[in-house]
C-alpha cells in the first residue's frame, strides 16, 4: 500500500509506529537490528566478487571477525569495480547508480550502486524524516498527499535527485520544482523557478542543503520585488502576500518568508548547515530539522521535533565510529589502524569519524565516508544523538560545495603558475558565521621582485583556477555572496621555521588552531635572514 493510501486508511499512531517507531526503541533493540542486518549484509557481501577481493582470502563469519579481518576502506578500494560499473562483482544487481565528485576535479566522478532494497529503505526513511520534521510532538505529524515542497536539491544522477523519484513511489508531493523534470535548468534557474512556484501556490515543506536554503532565503526580497515577470498567483496567496507587505511596511522591517509561508516542515543538511540554523529559523518561523543524506550512505539519520541531535536510522547502514584521537593519530600515521566503536559504545561530547557498512546488498563495507559527528547525548540505554561537525580534517568542504585536499590545493597552485612558497589552508568562519577558505601562504624571496604578489590579486588569481579546477566552486561564490578564499601572506620561512621549532610537520590542510596561532606568533617574534628561510 502506498503511503498516501495509508494516510487515509491507517490511523496516525499506527503510521508513526511504523515509520518512527524506532525512536521508542532502547539501545539493545536498536543494536539487535544493526547486528542482524549486518549479518545479512556480511553473508551477501563476503560471497560476492567485490567482497572476496577486499577480504583477500579471509572468510569472516561474524561481525567481530569482519572488524578484525577487514581494514577500514575508502573509495580508492572500490574504484576499479565501481567506476567501471562492474555489476557482476556486487552482491546484487544495482537498480541505479548515483554519482558525486571525488576530490573536486582531481579524480573522476565517484559512482555508488543502489539496489532495489536500498531504495526501498531509503524511501521509507525519507518518509520517516518528513514525519519527524513535521511533528510538533510524538505522533503528531503533518503529512498529506499534494503538499508542496520547495526543493533546492540537484537532479539525478546526484543523490538529492533521488528524493522526488522515491517520494513519487509512495506519496504524491508537488516539487517546486521537480529537479529531475527540470534538469536542463542551471542551479540558479531551478532555485528561481522553485521560488516563483512557491509564491504562486504556497509551500508546505522546504528542503535544501543549508547554504542553498540560506541563499534562497537571502534572495527572498529580490524575488518578491515584483521584477520577476508575470506570475500566476492564487487569490488566497495574493491576499496573504499583500497583508504581509502591509504589515512589514507598517513595522518598518523587510518582508520575510515567514510572513507569507507557513511551513509545516523544514529540513536541511550538508556541511556548515549549522551556520545558517538561527537565521533560517528567524526567517521562516520554524526551526529547521537537520537530516543527513549521502551518496554512499543513503539517508542516515534525522533530528526529531525536539531538535536535540540526529538519530541514525537503524536499517540504513551498520555504524562504526572512530574516536577523534584515533582519527588524528591515523592522519599523522596513515599506516595506523584506528580503533572503532559501535553505537552502544559512543560517549557524550566525543567527536567521531563515521564508518559505514551499507545494508541491503550495498557495496561499501567499513567505509570511511569522511564525516565527523559529535555525540550530543548517549547513555542510560537511550539512542545516541549526533550533530554533524564537519568533514574529516584533511578535507575542506565549504558549505557542501567543495572538497579540497592537500593534493587538490597543490594542483590549483600548480595550474595557477604562481610562484608560491609554503602554505597552509584553513577553513574559518567570519563574524556572520559564514565559512570561507583561509590560505596562509609564503612568497618565496625570488618571486618578490618578479611577480605581482598583492593579496587581492593572488585571491582573484587563485579563485579563477579554483573555478577551473572544480566547477562547484563558482556556485559556491554565488551562494555565499562573498569571496570564499582569503589570503594571509606570511613571511618567507615562517612555516619551515615553526615546524623546525615544534619538531613536527604542520598539516597543510586544516592545521589545528593551536598550531595556527603558534605559527602567527612565531612569525611575529622570529627574525631570520632570508637565506636561512630557504634552508
Amino acid at each position: 500500500m502506498r503511503f498516501d493510501e495509508k494516510l487515509n486508511k491507517v490511523n496516525h499512531e499506527q503510521l508513526w509506529r511504523e515509520y518512527c517507531g524506532f525512536l521508542d526503541m532502547d539501545l539493545s533493540e536498536y543494536m539487535y537490528i544493526q547486528r542482524r542486518l549486518m549479518e545479512e549484509q556480511l553473508h551477501l557481501w563476503s560471497a560476492c566478487g567485490l567482497g572476496r577481493k577486499l577480504l583477500r582470502g579471509h572468510e569472516p563469519k561474524t561481525i567481530d571477525e569482519l572488524r578484525e579481518m577487514l581494514p577500514l576502506t575508502t573509495y580508492e578500494d572500490y574504484a576499479d569495480v565501481l567506476l567501471a560499473k562492474r555489476s557482476e562483482m556486487l552482491c546484487d544487481t544495482p537498480a541505479t547508480w548515483i554519482q558525486t565528485t571525488w576530490e573536486g576535479g582531481l579524480r573522476p566522478t565517484k559512482m555508488a550502486p543502489y539496489t532495489r532494497e536500498m531504495l526501498n529503505r531509503y524511501r521509507h526513511n525519507l518518509i520517516s524524516t518528513v514525519m519527524m520534521a513535521s511533528a510538533k510532538e510524538k505522533g503528531n505529524f503533518e503529512v498529506k498527499k499534494g503538499f508542496r515542497v520547495l526543493y533546492g536539491g540537484a537532479p539525478l544522477p546526484y543523490a538529492t535527485g533521488l528524493m522526488p523519484s522515491l517520494f513519487d513511489e509512495d506519496l504524491k508531493l508537488v516539487w517546486l520544482p521537480d529537479s529531475n523534470a527540470n534538469s536542463d535548468l542551471s542551479f540558479t534557474q531551478r532555485i528561481k523557478k522553485g521560488f516563483s512556484m512557491a509564491l504562486s501556490g504556497g509551500v508546505d515543506y522546504f528542503f535544501a542543503i543549508g547554504s542553498v536554503a540560506n541563499y534562497i532565503t537571502e534572495n527572498f526580497s529580490k524575488s518578491t520585488g515584483g521584477s520577476g515577470g508575470k506570475k500566476k498567483i492564487s487569490f488566497r496567496h495574493a491576499v496573504r502576500y499583500l497583508r504581509a507587505k502591509y504589515i512589514c511596511r507598517r513595522d518598518g522591517r523587510p518582508l520575510l518568508p515567514k510572513d507569507i509561508f507557513h511551513l509545516k516542515a523544514f529540513f536541511y543538511g550538508g556541511t556548515d548547515a549549522h551556520c545558517y540554523r538561527d537565521r533560517l529559523a528567524a526567517a521562516w518561523g520554524i526551526m529547521p530539522t537537520e537530516a543527513i543524506l549521502g551518496t554512499e550512505s543513503t539517508c542516515l539519520g534525522a533530528e526529531t521535533w525536539e531538535h536535540n541531535g540526529m538519530v541514525f536510522f537503524p536499517d540504513s547502514c551498520f555504524y562504526e565510529f572512530i574516536p577523534e584521537e584515533e582519527m588524528n593519530r591515523n592522519l599523522r600515521d596513515p599506516a595506523y589502524r584506528p580503533r572503532t566503536c559501535l553505537m552502544d559504545e559512543v560517549t557524550t561530547g566525543q567527536n567521531y569519524e563515521l564508518v559505514i557498512s551499507v545494508f541491503h546488498g550495498g557495496a561499501f563495507m567499513r567505509y570511511r565516508i569522511g564525516d565527523v559527528f559529535q555525540c550530543v547525548s548517549a547513555g542510560r540505554g537511550e539512542l545516541p544523538r549526533f550533530a554533524y561537525v564537519d568533514r574529516v580534517p584533511d578535507v575542506i568542504d565549504i558549505a557542501g560545495f567543495t572538497r579540497i585536499t592537500e593534493e587538490s590545493m597543490k594542483e590549483v597552485i600548480r595550474l595557477s603558475r604562481l610562484n608560491l612558497g609554503e602554505w597552509v589552508l584553513k577553513k574559518e568562519y567570519d563574524e556572520g558565521n559564514n565559512p570561507y577558505l583561509h590560505l596562509f601562504v609564503e612568497i618565496p624571496p625570488e618571486a618578490l621582485g618578479e611577480e605581482v604578489v598583492v593579496r587581492r590579486v593572488l585571491e582573484q588569481h587563485l579563485s579563477v583556477y579554483f573555478q577551473y579546477f572544480d566547477s562547484d566552486y563558482s556556485d559556491l561564490k554565488k551562494l555565499l555572496n562573498m569571496e570564499p578564499l582569503q589570503i594571509t601572506i606570511l613571511k618567507a620561512g615562517t612555516i619551515t621555521g615553526y615546524e623546525r621549532e615544534r619538531g613536527h610537520r604542520l598539516s597543510r590542510i586544516n592545521p589545528n588552531m593551536l598550531d595556527l596561532q603558534g605559527l602567527l606568533k612565531y612569525q611575529a617574534r622570529a627574525y631570520y635572514p632570508p637565506w636561512e628561510a630557504t634552508v
Partner: protein, 856 residues
C-alpha cells in the same frame, strides 16, 4: 388494558432489559460486565418507573415519576462509567466529577425543581396524556449531560482511532450512543409526540452495548442463551402481545369480517398459537445459525484437546492441529515448525504438494516478536511495526513465496515450543478476533501436547539409539527382532550380522578415536545399503545387525556383498589411504527357512558370522543348516566376553581397572595364585556359558574368578608355598583368605556384586565347606562354578611340592567329588566340555593329557 398509548412498547422494553439483566448476571463478572449491569439496572428502574407511573400505580404518579427521572438523570453518568471501564482508562478524575454532578442533581430531581411531575389529561376515550412543563431550571442538569455526552464521544472517538484496523466494539458503542441520543431528541423535539422513542432507543442501545461486549469476547453467547430461556422469552412476549392485541383482533374479526364470536375466538387462538410456534421455531433456528459456530468451535476444541493430550507422537499432534485449524478457518496451507538447534524447522505441511523444506532462524525478529509481544503475528500488521525492519530480504521473500499471512507461537511461558504458519485466507480476508482467539487456544493446547510428545520421543530415541553411530542399539534390536519375527511369520525374516574384522588391532594401531570414526563410517555404509528394506542396529562394539523383513537369504547375500565392497572402499579414499583397509565378516540367516525362533535366528546368524571369521574374514556366509557349521567353541565365546569386559566403558571400566590392579598385586607376591586366578576365571566362565548362564552372569563369574583368592595377599608366603601338610593353625589362617578377600572387595566401588561368588567358592555341596557351611543350591551358582574350576585347576597345576595331575585323573577326581564337594550337574558339564575340547587348557595341562607316560 389501559388508556395509556403505546404502553406495550415500554412493557416490551422492560422485558428486554430484564432479559439482558438475567443473561448478564450469569456471565463472569468483569469490570465491564459490572458496569453494564449497573446501566441495565438503571434502564430497568427507568422503564419500570415509567410504566408504573403511566398505570398510576400505588403510591402514585409523583413517586414513580421521580424514580423514573432519577434513573434518566443517572443514565449519562452510568454510560460514561461503562465506557471508562470498556476503554480501560486509567485516570478517574472526570469520573468523579460526573459522579459528584449526578449526586448533586438528586435533591433538585426529587423535589421537582428541575422538572415538575406531569399533569394528567384525560381524553374523551379514556386515554391519559402526561404533559410536562419545562422551566429554565433544566439548564443545570443539561450542562452536566452535555459535558458527559461530550466526554463520552471523545472517549469513543479515541477508542475507535486506537483500534484502527481491528475494531472490537468502539464503533458499535459510538453508534449505540448516537441512537440513544437520537431517540431522546425525537422524544423531546417532535411536537405532540406520544410514542416512546426514548424507550425504544434505550432497548436498541442496550442491545448494541451487549453486542460490543460480545465482540470483545467478554462473555459467551452460548452460555447466556439457552433453549429454556428462549422458550420463556417467546411465551412471555406472546403473553404480552396477547394482552394488547387479542381483543382488538377479535373485535376486528367480529365487527369488520363478520365472524361469529365463537368462531372468532377459535380463529384468534389458532392464529396466536400458530404465530407462537412459528416464532419459537424461527428463533431457535436463528440462534442456532448465529451461535452454532461458537458451539461447534467449543466442541472442536474439546475434541482436539482430548485427542492431542492422549497422543505422544509429534507427527500425529501436528496433523490434528492442522486439521482442527482448517476446519475452523478457511486457509489453504498450514505449516508447523519445531525447534531444532538455532532454527525452527518446518516439519509439517498440510498440503503434500508443498513439502516443508524451510526453516526460520531462532534469532529472527518475528520470533522475538512472538516471544516478547503477542503469541500471534498477523504478517500485514507486523510489517507496520519497527520490528519488521530487521527482517532479512530472504525471510521476506520466503513469507511472500509461501503466502504466509499469520504466524502463531505455541508457547510454554516464554519458550516457543513450535510455530504454526497459516497462508492467506480465501479472497485475502483478514483474520477476525474470534479466529485469533481460536488459534491462541488451540496452539496453547498443542504446545503442552507437543512438549510432552517431544520429551517422550527424545527419551524413546535416546533409549534406543547408540550415541556413537546414531543407530538403534542392542536393546531395541532385541525388541524389534521378537516383534518382526512374529509379524513376518511365513513371509520371512532375514538377520544379518556385520562384524568388523581385526578391529582390536585397528584400535591399537590408530587409537580409539579413529576406530570410532571407522565404526561410524561402516554403520553409514550399512545404513545406505539397507535403505528402506530393513533396519540397522549396532548390537555390540564392532558388530552391526541388519534386520530385513520379508527378505530371503539370497537377496540378503547380494546386499551383504554390496556392504562388503563399500566397507573396503572406506579407507580407499586419498585422505584415508594411510589407514589399514577395513573389511567385515557377514553372517546371514533367514527364518523360517533356517530358524524356528528368534533366539535360534540369532544363534544361527552368530554361527554364520563366526564361520565367516574362521574361514578367512572379509566374506559372507549364509547359514543353511547346522551340519555345515562348526559349533562356536566355548573358548571363543569366553574370549569374546573377556575382550568385551576389558574394553568396557564407564563404571565397568573402573571396576575392571581395580580388578587388574588387585590381580597384579597378587602376581607380585605369588605368581602361582595369579596364574591360578586367571585359569579359574576362564574355566568358570566357560562352564557358566556351557550351562547357559547369561552374559552378565558370565562377566560376574569371570571377575570373581580373578579375585577369588585375592585375600591370600595377607597369608604369609611360607604358608602359601609350604611343601608339607598345613598345621591346624596354618589351615585356619589359610581358611581366613576367604573373609580377607571379602574385606578387600567390599571396600571397592562397583564390585560388591562379586561378593556372593567369592564368599561361596569354598563351600561344599554337602555343607562341609567354609566359611558358612551352606549346602547345595543355597550356594550361589557363581560360587559353585568357581568351586569346580578352582578344584580342577588346583589338581592340574604343578606346585613346588607336587606335580599336577594328569587331565583324565583330574577329571575322574572331579567326578568323584560330584555330589559331595561339588555341584554334580556342573561337574558333569565341566568334565564333558573338557573332554570334548571345547575349553581352552593351558599348554602344560594339555601336555599332561597328551603325554600320560611322561607324567606317569
Amino acid at each position: 388494558m389501559s388508556g395509556v398509548p403505546f404502553l406495550y412498547v415500554n412493557v416490551l422494553a422492560l422485558f428486554g432489559f430484564a432479559l439482558m439483566f438475567s443473561v448478564f448476571m450469569a456471565a463472569r463478572k468483569t469490570t465491564e460486565i459490572r458496569a453494564f449491569l449497573f446501566l441495565i439496572i438503571d434502564c430497568l428502574t427507568w422503564t419500570g418507573g415509567s410504566i408504573l407511573m403511566r398505570l398510576q400505580t400505588w403510591p402514585g404518579v409523583p413517586f414513580w415519576y421521580y424514580v423514573s427521572l432519577l434513573s434518566i438523570f443517572s443514565t449519562e453518568f452510568l454510560f460514561y462509567l461503562f465506557l471508562h471501564r470498556f476503554a480501560r482508562e486509567r485516570g478517574n478524575l472526570l469520573l468523579w466529577i460526573f459522579f459528584a454532578g449526578t449526586v448533586l442533581l438528586v435533591p433538585g430531581t426529587i423535589t421537582g425543581f428541575f422538572l415538575a411531575p406531569p399533569t394528567l389529561i384525560y381524553g374523551p376515550d379514556g386515554s391519559v396524556l402526561f404533559t410536562y412543563t419545562v422551566n429554565w431550571h433544566m439548564v443545570f442538569p443539561c450542562i452536566l449531560f452535555v459535558g458527559v455526552i461530550f466526554a463520552s464521544l471523545l472517549l469513543l472517538l479515541r477508542m475507535a482511532r486506537e483500534e484502527g484496523g481491528q475494531p472490537s466494539g468502539a464503533w458499535i458503542l459510538f453508534w449505540g450512543g448516537l441512537v440513544m441520543l437520537a431517540g431522546n431528541m425525537l422524544q423531546i423535539l417532535l411536537p405532540g409526540n406520544i410514542f416512546p422513542y426514548d424507550t425504544l432507543a434505550g432497548v436498541v442501545f442496550a442491545g448494541m452495548v451487549a453486542f460490543a461486549l460480545y465482540r470483545r469476547r467478554l462473555f459467551r453467547m452460548t452460555l447466556a442463551i439457552s433453549h429454556g430461556l428462549l422458550t420463556i422469552t417467546t411465551v412471555s412476549v406472546y403473553a404480552l402481545l396477547g394482552i394488547f392485541f387479542v381483543r382488538p383482533v377479535q373485535s376486528f374479526l367480529e365487527n369488520v369480517v363478520g365472524l361469529a364470536p365463537d368462531l372468532s375466538v377459535v380463529l384468534v387462538s389458532v392464529m396466536l398459537a400458530g404465530a407462537l410456534l412459528v416464532t419459537y421455531t424461527g428463533m431457535r433456528k436463528l440462534i442456532n445459525v448465529l451461535f452454532i459456530r461458537e458451539e461447534k468451535q467449543n466442541n472442536r476444541l474439546k475434541q482436539f484437546s482430548s485427542d492431542v493430550t492422549q497422543s505422544l507422537s509429534t507427527g500425529a499432534i501436528m496433523q490434528k492441529l492442522a486439521d482442527v485449524v482448517q476446519e475452523e478457518i478457511p486457509v489453504e496451507q498450514i505449516y508447523i515448525c519445531l525447534p531444532d538447534g538455532n532454527h525452527f524447522e518446518a516439519r509439517y505441511s498440510a498440503n503434500p504438494l508443498n513439502p516443508p523444506t524451510f526453516s526460520i532462524d531462532r534469532d529472527s525478529p518475528k520470533i522475538r516478536y512472538l516471544q516478547e509481544q503477542e503469541p500471534y503475528l498477523i504478517v500485514r500488521d507486523y510489517h507496520c511495526t519497527p520490528h519488521a525492519i530487521s527482517d532479512w530480504a530472504a525471510e521476506k521473500e520466503l513469507f511472500q513465496r509461501l503466502d504466509i499471512a499469520c504466524m502463531v507461537a505455541m508457547r510454554n511461558g516464554t519458550e516457543i515450543i513450535g510455530l504454526m504458519l497459516l497462508s492467506s485466507k480465501f479472497r485475502g480476508r483478514p483474520f477476525g478476533a474470534s479466529e485469533i482467539g481460536f488459534l491462541e487456544t488451540v496452539s496453547s493446547i498443542a504446545s503442552m501436547a507437543l512438549k510432552n510428545a517431544g520429551l517422550y520421543e527424545q527419551m524413546y530415541r535416546e533409549a534406543r539409539v547408540d550415541p556413537l553411530t546414531g543407530m538403534y542399539n542392542y536393546r531395541y534390536f532385541i525388541e524389534q527382532l521378537d516383534e518382526q519375527f512374529t509379524a513376518c511369520g511365513q513371509d520371512g525374516l532375514t538377520l544379518m550380522y556385520i562384524d568388523a574384522d581385526d578391529f582390536k588391532l585397528y584400535n591399537q594401531l590408530y587409537g580409539v578415536g579413529e576406530g570410532d570414526i571407522a565404526l561410524c563410517r561402516i554403520g553409514e555404509v550399512i545404513r545406505l545399503c539397507v535403505g528402506d528394506s530393513g533396519a540397522v542396529y549396532r548390537t555390540s562394539g564392532k558388530v552391526f545387525a541388519a534386520l530385513l523383513p520379508k527378505q530371503d537369504s539370497s537377496r540378503a547375500q547380494i546386499l551383504a556383498r554390496e556392504i562388503g565392497v563399500r566397507v573396503v572402499d572406506i579407507n580407499h579414499v586419498r585422505e584415508r589411504r594411510h589407514l589399514k583397509p577395513l573389511s567385515v565378516s557377514i553372517g546371514i540367516c533367514s527364518a523360517p527357512y533356517a530358524a524356528s525362533s528368534a533366539k535360534e535366528l540369532m544363534d544361527n546368524t552368530d554361527l554364520a558370522t563366526y564361520n565367516a571369521k574362521q574361514s578367512g574374514k572379509d566374506r559372507v556366509v549364509v547359514f543353511r543348516g547346522a551340519t555345515d557349521m562348526s559349533a562356536q567353541r566355548l573358548t571363543e565365546r569366553t574370549n569374546a566376553i573377556v575382550e568385551h569386559l576389558e574394553r568396557s566403558n564407564g563404571a565397568e571400566r573402573g571396576a575392571v581397572g581395580a580388578i587388574y590392579a588387585l590381580t597384579a598385586a597378587i602376581d607380585a607376591k605369588d605368581h602361582y595364585t595369579f596364574d591360578h586366578s586367571k585359569n579359574v576365571a576362564r574355566y568358570a566362565a566357560c562352564l557358566a556359558l556351557a550351562v547357559g548362564l547369561n552374559e552378565e552372569q558370565v562377566y560376574t563369574i569371570y571377575s570373581a574368578g580373578l579375585l577369588h583368592d585375592i585375600g591370600k595377599i595377607s597369608i604369609p608366603e611360607d604358608i602359601l608355598n609350604k611343601k608339607g601338610a598345613l598345621t591346624e593353625q596354618e589351615y585356619s589362617l589359610m581358611k581366613g583368605h576367604v573373609n580377607n578377600s571379602i574385606e578387600m572387595i567390599r571396600h571397592l566401588p562397583e564390585m560388591d556384586y562379586l561378593i556372593p561368588a567369592v564368599l561361596g567358592h569354598h563351600e561344599r555341596w554337602d555343607g562341609g565347606g567354609y566359611p558358612r557351611g551352606i549346602t547345595e543350591e543355597e550356594i550361589p551358582v557363581s560360587a559353585r562354578c568357581l568351586a569346580v574350576a578352582d578344584a580342577f585347576d588346583a589338581m592340574v597345576s604343578n606346585r613346588p611340592y607336587r606335580r599336577g595331575l594328569l587331565l583324565e585323573d583330574a577329571l575322574m577326581r572331579l567326578e568323584e567329588s560330584a555330589g559331595t564337594q561339588l555341584d554334580p550337574h556342573l561337574t558333569t558339564i565341566f568334565t564333558q566340555i573338557v573332554r570334548s575340547g571345547d575349553i581352552f587348557l593351558p599348554p602344560q595341562v594339555r601336555r599332561h593329557s597328551a603325554a600320560p607316560a611322561e607324567t606317569a
